[in-house]
Symmetry: C2
Subunit: 288 residues, 2 copies
């Protein structure tokens, strides 16, 4: 077996250990919930011990967009047993997504590691606005973001990172309907599917989460491993209506969608304005 083969064996062996497409065992991350085992999670002693595992902290909050998070979480679950994903929130009471799915956080802010491998924030709209002005959430993100190896988001999750002061002067992206709102926080708002600026990695709207996460997986492991993940999750997309973008779509439809988010964007920009006023010392625009 040559070196390249050995690399592949290692890579895919780890995918197998991680559960493949569910092959084997569910990933943990439910240590706060003993009943997880009753529902099929592996016995506690069968899991790898905690302290040596890299922690991926994924924020959940009322009315977050579930697909923004579940796409990346699936990819992360294939990274191998040395990674552990957590759904984090103030407490472990159920939160309902913006499409009506009840999720339970698996770890509270207080319980999380101070130095996560990845800090991740999903998007949403009115729920996202709420966390953008919640001091407890912003404080948590700022503290973990300062020590995280990667600070990441999908869709309008980048607005929350921006509100926490984690994207100042950085290149970053968001849903195509929120590009100007992101810029209002002093972020270099870029319309690309995945944007990497140092250890800040942001994905565009909703489905871009999968592209974001495979990109991050290649960084955390290697390209061969990430290719194995694409194959395992059968990521060979075939959008039924081909490429539909704001540039190619019917301008009337694009105009209607823009009209739908006028209020949301106005509210986001108001948050940006209030924060710039409240904290001039950390906002470089105040020094102009």
């Amino acid at each position: 077996m040559n070196r390249r083969d050995a690399l592949h064996m290692t890579a895919l062996g780890a995918i197998a250990a991680a559960g493949g497409y569910g092959l084997g065992r569910p990933r943990a991350g439910n240590d706060n919930h003993p009943e997880a085992e009753a529902h099929g999670a592996p016995a506690r002693e069968a899991r790898l011990a905690g302290p040596d595992r890299a922690e991926i902290l994924m924020l959940v909050y009322p009315r977050f967009t579930a697909l923004d998070l579940v796409g990346p979480q699936h990819v992360f679950s294939l990274l191998g047993p040395e990674y552990r994903t957590r759904l984090v929130w103030k407490d472990t009471a159920e939160v309902i997504s913006d499409t009506g799915i009840p999720f339970r956080p698996t770890q509270t802010f207080d319980e999380t590691t101070e130095s996560p491998e990845v800090l991740f924030v999903p998007g949403g709209t009115d729920g996202t606005l709420a966390v953008m002005e919640d001091p407890e959430v912003l404080g948590f993100l700022a503290s973990r973001g300062a020590k995280a190896r990667y600070v990441t988001s999908v869709c309008t999750g980048s607005l929350v990172l921006a509100a926490a002061g984690l994207l100042l002067d950085r290149r970053a992206t968001t849903h195509w309907l929120a590009m100007e709102s992101l810029a209002s926080f002093g972020v270099q708002s870029v319309r690309e599917r995945v944007v990497i600026d140092g250890n800040r990695i942001t994905g565009a709207g909703v489905t871009a989460g999968i592209d974001f996460a495979v990109t991050l997986a290649a960084t955390l492991k290697d390209d061969a491993y990430a290719r194995g993940i694409q194959l395992m999750m059968e990521y060979d997309p075939a959008p039924p209506f081909g490429t539909v973008t704001p540039e190619s779509a019917d301008p009337k439809i694009v105009g209607m969608l823009r009209a739908m988010v006028v209020e949301f964007n106005r509210n986001v920009e108001a948050v940006a304005g209030r924060q710039a006023t409240a904290k001039p010392s950390v906002d470089p625009r105040a020094e102009d």
Copy 2:
């Protein structure tokens, strides 16, 4: 305004009403959970009344693959207020997905409508095997499937539909690693991303769920509407490593992945064998 414009207005107006990319209100489906409102779900009286709405029943079960379900659920949540998605299971106790996400079912089997618009089953592996031999689950699927307008699945969810007798002699698909197992139930196993045979619509592995759901959305509404959904969820995928398929990938990696699922497939085929023996009268292969 011409007729085409009017169609678009109607289509996107409904997307707006449904919440856009979370714009506005979370979808309901949480009627069993009064606490949903405390976490931001709309007030009960603000929701549309129930009986006239088309019900989309999505099976959840211990160790199901979350992304198989959450991709389609996002698409369905954009269909407009005349549709309602339910996460259905035997009871409403939490179930943990195969990647470790705790979900709460929103409706029990007994509470579901007898005539759903859509019946949907996500995949998994060992959890999927368990429900394939669970008489309560199979009975529920058979009864609702007989009256559903569309009977659908993603990934190895089609194995469960097959075990419930809902895919006999039908063209259907599944994860590329489970094609032969699907055929062992007397199904015409086809390697396509989305397969439509009458009112049976099945999607391939994991990420194919989004393509499946956009296809179904176009059937339930129209092409213009489904295009609007693609635009709203920014479904313009860009796989970081391009097209990676079992045909194009390194044969060594493909071989390793196949080796990983030998036991799973053997177990599935054993279920198919037992069911063929137990119920010869409903299995056309027994008449050969």
